[in-house]
């Protein structure tokens, strides 16, 4: 039977709860359990950085097994960056280790008076002094804690200086370079005075039907290994996207001003891999291995040896800032990892500052003498470190683009590219309508990971017909129309929600998916012994329940339809060039459809009473 480990930092106590079995059929695990627990235990309106907030590390029912790409973990909390629902998934090896130590979830409550770290070695759970680790970069802290415990196999999740100083978009770093990046989980840990969590487990994870599960898992691995797209992903990682994005005119450039970048080639996989990549690596139990370790031999950043960045990092410290030099993005990634910051938000916040400066809305008095300009690598790297240290102008930018714009005023808000406070990731609704809707409605803000429909963007007619019905063709795969997009977004959001509940990596359900809901329905009963999980309809309802629960969480914080919006740049300013030239997003019709399909009220965007009843969410009323 599963266990929830609770560490209360305020009274320095550790307790173990049984996993509520009555939750399983409705929520499965992972993200779903965390959502329910957070809704019940963190009341509406509390400050994300107060001791009342909790941070949950959750695993899924198949974490620690041989199912492909199932080694991921989720950090859940009321987000420091946005003040709404916060979740951040991370690869690496942390989650399985927690499972092997005997726990399905770790809940960190309260706040410590002085810096501490949490050490979990099977049954031994300790809150230990971290004075000597405070101030360390994430990699230093990770190694120091392993050394302290004389165990190189301990898995450590650490925050860096940015998390300690509560930079709004600070991250938690696992295995040196895997980041629970978005929504500011580092700041939540920092506010609790927790430098790190070290986990070592020697136990076992078992499934209900071992032999059948193994048989299926082996076939699943075989599918990953023979899938042509997966093989490409293994070779190039997400770098494969740069060229695709450039071709369809959706490579965010100059703070999302345009979708075409002249210097894209220097940021493409074809360019990077032969010149810089020294090693391919994988997360726990993954056949694909998309992580690339890269090394810079010459130039100002010679000697940089670091994993990444992913496409999002190439975008946010490349095209978004007018930089075509790959080593700069690698250096930026290294700084983000060591200081513990989200690379997407960091790049987007700097882009905001540069554009505001360019437009004359801020001057050197505000920037502390920096003459901000596009494409200035040296200056951008310097500014990034200043953010990590919260020094000078970096202190202002550490609030994120929304926070900084509010602080500065002067009309700079128009250049802050965010939804609900979370900076927009490397997509553009103008050239891909469904992602516009997903950015606007995502539970944690402008997010490409809650629902990124690729079938429409890449024009997979067969998949579209099979999944959404041939009657919706051709509009549903036309990226430039709003029609039917909500249907695609909802279906994909549900599948992704299951992905985050299991928890599996998103590359196993990405373009075109290797696994989809029916595959999970085949596997879950073997893993859990619960036959009702074999029904795809039932799984979809579970997903719907979770999406609506997260919406209710946000509604409690005051989110309504008005907040499901995009910056004017996407809805009012036509794409200036490229294949999508002249396109804008017309959000309202898509939102109407989306709310209707979700069973939420079209006026307010809030779940209707019938929906709450139907999804068995009436218990939420008790916690409003």
């Amino acid at each position: 039977m599963g266990k929830i480990l609770r560490v209360n930092l305020s009274d320095e106590t550790v307790s173990i709860d049984k996993l509520p079995t009555e939750w399983i059929e409705d929520y499965i695990g992972g993200d779903g359990f965390a959502a329910r627990l957070l809704y019940e235990e963190v009341p509406g309106g509390v400050d994300s950085l107060s001791p009342v907030n909790k941070l949950i590390i959750a695993t899924g029912p198949i974490t620690g097994t041989l199912w492909p790409m199932s080694g991921r973990t989720v950090f859940v909390s009321k987000a420091a960056q946005t003040g709404i629902w916060g979740e951040s998934h991370v690869g690496g090896f942390l989650g399985p280790e927690l499972k092997y130590a005997g726990y399905d979830m770790l809940v960190i409550e309260g706040a410590a008076e002085k810096p501490v770290y949490i050490a979990i070695e099977d049954d031994l759970v300790e809150i230990r002094d971290a004075k000597c680790f405070w101030g360390m970069k994430t990699d230093e802290a990770t190694e120091a804690i392993k050394k302290q415990h004389r165990d190189a196999n301990m898995q450590v999740a650490a925050i860096g200086p940015a998390g300690e100083k509560q930079v709004r978009f600070s991250s938690v770093i696992v295995n040196h370079a895997r980041a629970a990046g978005r929504t500011g989980m580092g700041a939540v840990l920092g506010s609790k005075n927790v430098k790190a969590i070290g986990i070592r487990g020697h136990g076992a994870v078992s499934v209900a039907h071992h032999d059948e599960f193994m048989e299926l898992a082996k076939q699943a691995h075989q599918r990953v290994r023979t899938d042509p797209q997966a093989q490409e992903m293994g070779r190039w990682g997400t770098w494969i996207l740069t060229a695709v994005k450039q071709e369809i005119g959706e490579l965010p450039t100059f703070n999302h001003r345009t979708g075409v970048f002249e210097g894209w080639e220097g940021l493409s996989g074809d360019y990077i891999r032969p010149r810089y990549t020294v090693s391919d690596r994988a997360c726990f139990g993954c056949s694909l291995g998309c992580k690339k370790v890269n090394y810079v031999r010459t130039g100002p950043y010679a000697g940089t040896l670091e994993e990444g960045p992913e496409y999002e990092g190439l975008m946010s410290f490349g095209s978004l800032l007018g930089i075509s030099d790959y080593p700069t993005t690698l250096k930026a990634n290294e700084i983000c990892n060591k200081y513990g910051m989200d690379i997407i938000s960091a790049g987007a916040t700097i882009a905001f500052a540069i554009e505001a400066f360019e437009q004359g809305l801020i001057d050197t008095d505000v920037t502390g003498g920096l003459e901000l300009e596009w494409g200035n690598s040296e200056q951008i790297i310097e500014l990034l470190k200043m953010i990590g240290e919260k020094q000078g102008f970096g202190g202002l930018l550490s609030l994120g683009s929304k926070g900084a714009a509010e602080e500065i005023g002067r009309g700079t808000e128009q250049y802050a590219m965010h939804v609900k406070g979370l900076e927009i990731s490397g997509q553009d609704g103008r050239t891909h309508r469904s992602i516009g809707l997903a950015h606007a409605t995502g539970a944690r803000g402008a997010d490409h990971l809650r629902s990124l429909v690729t079938v429409d963007q890449l024009g997979y007619e067969d998949v579209a017909a099979e999944r959404w019905g041939a009657d919706k063709l051709p509009e549903i795969i036309n990226p430039y129309t709003e029609k039917y997009k909500a249907a695609a977004v909802v279906e994909t959001e549900n599948a992704y929600c299951l992905r985050d509940t299991l928890i599996v990596c998103w590359y196993s359900v990405s373009w075109p998916p290797i696994f989809w809901v029916e595959d999970f329905a085949e596997m879950l009963p073997l893993a859990t012994g619960i036959d009702s999980f074999g029904d795809t309809e039932g799984l979809n309802e579970i997903a719907e329940r979770q999406v609506t629960l997260k919406r209710l969480f946000n509604a409690r914080e005051g989110i309504t339809r008005e907040d499901d919006n995009l910056p004017d740049r996407f809805t009012k300013v036509p794409m200036p060039e490229g294949p999508g030239k002249g396109q804008t997003v017309d959000l309202d019709p898509m939102l109407d459809d989306y709310y209707r399909l979700r069973g939420w009220d079209c006026e307010t965007g809030l779940p209707s009473d019938e929906t709450i009843e139907r999804l068995n969410l009436s218990w939420t009323k008790k916690y409003q």
């Binding site: 990699d139 190694e143 499934v207 090693s279 391919d280 010679a302 000697g303």
Partner: protein
């Protein structure tokens, strides 16, 4: 299958550190997913981006055989595979300490010595390795002789750049 010496051959340059081998090994041998009881171990260097699979053998001399006080650890003269006769084992852990690859261990729950047996000539780790970093073949098929080639390359490159700066 011809009866001849075979060994687990490791190519460090191909290992991605995914630990599927550890999972597959424990799933086959223990019936659960428990990397701590796997008969092999991926040693990870996150700072360098290097992963090194440590497997049983190949050993020219087998210290685990030499050290065993009761001759429970024995070596097949033809296949060169070292195997443990559990009936004779007195759990003294001498082999655990003697193993140069650190892949023999004592399971303190079941009180058994855990030791790779190459799955009787059909190793599960080899079948499940996604990149071919672990293969099974005759000594002549072993292409990678230098155990630490991959890391040596890195370190010398880092030293070279440091000097150039």
């Amino acid at each position: 299958m011809p009866y001849m010496p075979k060994q687990l051959i490791v190519d460090y340059t191909k290992c991605t550190g995914c630990r599927i081998c550890e999972l597959a090994c424990s799933a086959k041998k223990e019936g659960v997913f428990q990397p701590s009881l796997a008969r092999l171990k991926i040693v990870k260097y996150d700072d360098l981006g290097v992963d090194v699979p440590n497997v049983c053998g190949p050993c020219e001399e087998a210290p685990c055989v030499d050290v065993c006080p009761v001759y429970a650890m024995r070596r097949d003269p033809i296949t060169k595979m070292v195997y443990l006769d559990e009936d004779k084992c007195i759990l003294c852990k001498s082999c655990v300490g003697a193993c140069v690859n650190g892949v023999i261990q004592l399971d303190t729950i079941s009180m058994h010595i855990i030791k790779c047996d190459h799955c009787d000539g059909d190793p599960e780790c080899v079948k499940m390795c996604p990149t071919g970093a672990i293969t099974y073949g005759t000594p002549a098929q072993s292409a990678v002789v230098d155990r630490h080639e991959k890391m040596e390359k890195y370190l010398s490159e880092i030293r070279r750049t440091a000097e150039a700066q």
